[in-house]
Subunit: 195 residues, 4 copies
C-alpha cells in the first residue's frame, strides 16, 4: 500500500513554479495578454517549456492560475451597515481590476474562457463562487440587522457591482475616481433592495 503523497522520481522544484509566476507577472503588463507567448515565458523564467506544460494545460489555465493563486483568500470586514459592506466589496473588486497585471490580463483571459469550458468552470468555482459567498454573507448580515426586508438576489447584486466596475474601466475606459467605490456600492444596494 502506497502513501498518496509519495511520488517517486525527482520532485518538482518550487523554484520553477515561482519563476513561472514571476515571469508571467513581469511579461503581462509589458507585452499584454495576446503577446504573452509560452516561449517568452520560458525564456524570461529561464526554464524549459516542458516544465510549464508539466504544471499547466494551456496558456489560459496558466495565466488564470497565476492570477488566482497569487491572490490571498479575500474576506470582507463587517462594517456594520449594508452600504459600508458594499463599499468594501466595491473597493476589493476595483483593487483587483486596477492592479497592473490583472488589468492587462483580464480581458484576454475572459475571451479564453468562452472557448475553454474547463477553465470557465474553474473561474466560476474559484472566482465567482468566492465573491458570491462574500455577497451572500453581507446580504444575510443586512437582513439580520433589519436593513433588508426580504431576501435579495445575490446574483443581481454581484452583476451590478462587478459589472459596473468592469464596464467603467474596460468598456467605457474611464479612469477610477475616489468616489467610484461608494457610487458602485449604492448601485449594489439598489440591486439588493430591488427598487
Amino acid at each position: 500500500m502506497q502513501s498518496p503523497k509519495q511520488p517517486i522520481g525527482r520532485p518538482r522544484e518550487n523554484r520553477v513554479d515561482a519563476a513561472i509566476r514571476a515571469a508571467v507577472r513581469e511579461l503581462v503588463p509589458r507585452v499584454g495578454y495576446a503577446g504573452l507567448t509560452m516561449d517568452a515565458i520560458a525564456a524570461e523564467a529561464g526554464i524549459g517549456k516542458a516544465a510549464i506544460y508539466r504544471r499547466h494545460t494551456s496558456r489560459g489555465e496558466l495565466v488564470f492560475s497565476v492570477l488566482v493563486h497569487g491572490r490571498k483568500t479575500r474576506s470582507l470586514p463587517d462594517t456594520g451597515t449594508l452600504a459600508g459592506d458594499l463599499t468594501a466589496l466595491a473597493d476589493l473588486i476595483l483593487g483587483i481590476f486596477t492592479d497592473p497585471v490583472t488589468a492587462a490580463a483580464t480581458p484576454g483571459l475572459l475571451a479564453d474562457l468562452q472557448q475553454q469550458p474547463d477553465i470557465a468552470a474553474r473561474f466560476q468555482e474559484r472566482f465567482v463562487a468566492e465573491e458570491r459567498a462574500l455577497i451572500s454573507a453581507l446580504l444575510e448580515r443586512a437582513r439580520q440587522r433589519g436593513e433588508l426586508a426580504a431576501a435579495a438576489d445575490p446574483v443581481l447584486v454581484h452583476a451590478a457591482v462587478l459589472g459596473t466596475a468592469y464596464a467603467w474601466l474596460f468598456l467605457l475606459a474611464q479612469p477610477p475616481t475616489p468616489a467610484l467605490a461608494s457610487r458602485i456600492a449604492a448601485l449594489g444596494e439598489a440591486a439588493a433592495r430591488g427598487h
Copy 2:
C-alpha cells in the same frame, strides 16, 4: 481641385465587402473568435486574402467593422417614463449581447481593444458615444418631465446598464431571464437618481 469621389483604377467591389461580412458572421458562431482565421474567412468568402487586407488592417479591426457596420443606427422610443426608456435601453443592449454572432465575438474583441489603441478609439466613437447619446437624451427627457431633480451622470448610468448586462451574461454566465431588462433598468434609474 479634385473631387473627393474620383478614384482612379478599378473600383473596389461591394460584392467582396459583403462576402467578407457574411463569412465572418457565418464563422464566428461556429469556430469562435479565437478560431477565426484570415485564411478561413477568405476561403469561406471565396476571395483572396489580399482583398481582406486591402480593407482591414487586422483581425480585430475586421471583426469590429463587421459587427458595427452591420448594425443599423439605433434609436430609442420615448415611452413617457424614465423607467420605460431605461427598459428599452436595457432591451437594446441585451439584444446585442445575446445575438449569436455578437455573443461569440464580444469577449475576444474587447481583449483586442486593450492592445490596439486605434480600434479602441473607434470603439469609443462608434459604439460607446452612440449609446451615450441615447442615454443623455433619455435622461434629459426625464429631467424635463420632472422625474429627475438634478443633472444625472450619464457615464454612471451607462456603466450600470451596460456593465450589469455584460457581467450577467459573460462573467457570471447566467442565462437571460424575461425580467432581466426591467431589473437592469431599475439599476440604471438608481444610478440616475444617485441614491
Copy 3:
C-alpha cells in the same frame, strides 16, 4: 469584308513597347532576373500591367522578346579562313554573353525554357537556328576553300563554341580574357575537323 490589317478602336502605341523594353533593360541588371516583377516593370515604364500582358503571354516570353528583339540580325564576315570565321563567331557569342543585360538574364531565362515548351521552341527557332545557319555557312565556305575535307557536324561545332563560352563565364565564373575568342575558335575548328 474587313481588311486583315485594319483593327478597329484605338491603335496600340509604339511608345508602350519601347517603354517596356527600356524598363526591362534597366531593371534586369539592377535586380536580376528573379527580382524582375511585372509590377516593377509596369511602374518603371509608367504603364499598366494590362498593356504588358496584351503584348506578352508571360514573364519569360517578355524577357525573351526584349532580349532577342533588341538584337539586330547578326551576320558574320567572310574572313577568308576557317579560324578567322570561327573567331568572329566566338567574338559574337562572347559579346552577347558579356552584355550586362544579357549576362544578368541568361541563366534565369534558360531555366524558364525548361518549363515552357512554347518559349523553348521560339528560342530554338530564333536564337539557335540563326546561329546554326551562320555556322553552317562558314563551314560550307571552309569546305569550298578546301580547308575541310569532309562534311563537318555543325551541331557539334555549335555546342563547342557556344558551350565553352557559356561554361567559361557562367559555370566556371571566369573573367573573359583577350585570347578567349581565339582559344574557343580553336576548339570549334577541332570540332569541325573531328579530331
Copy 4:
C-alpha cells in the same frame, strides 16, 4: 575548452534530413525546379516547414545540398591514355546531366547562383573545384606519359568538356548519342594540346 560535438537540447533527426532529400528528389522531376515549393516539400516529406528552414537558408541552397550531398565523391580511372581519361570524364559529366533529378534542377539552380553569392561560392568549392582536381590529375598523368608536351590549361579543358556537354543537352536540346562522350573528349584533348 568545449568539445565540438556537444550540442545541448534535442538533437536534429537524421530521418528529417533523409525525408527532405527524398522529397526533393521525388518532386523535382515531377514539377520542375520552378514548381518546387517549400510547402510541397514539407508536405511530401511529412515534416514541418520550420524543419527545412532550420537546415537550409533558401530553396537554392536546399536543392544544391540535396544534389551534392547525394553524390558519392567521384574519381576517374587511369585508362592509360589521355583520350581514354577524357572520355571517362565526359561520361561522368554526361551521367550527371542526364540524371532525371539533376537534369530537371540544373538550369534553375544555375539561375539562382547568379543572385546568391554564398551558394555560388559553395558551388565553386564543391562542384567545380572537385572536377578541376580530376582534370588537373589526368593532365598531369598525360604529361608524365609524354602525351602532352607543355603544361595545358585545366580551366580551358574544363570549359570545353563541361560546356559542350551542357550546351548539347540544355541549350541545343539535343538528345545524347552513344558517341557523344568520345566526341566531347576529343574537344577536351584539343583544348589540352592548344591546337
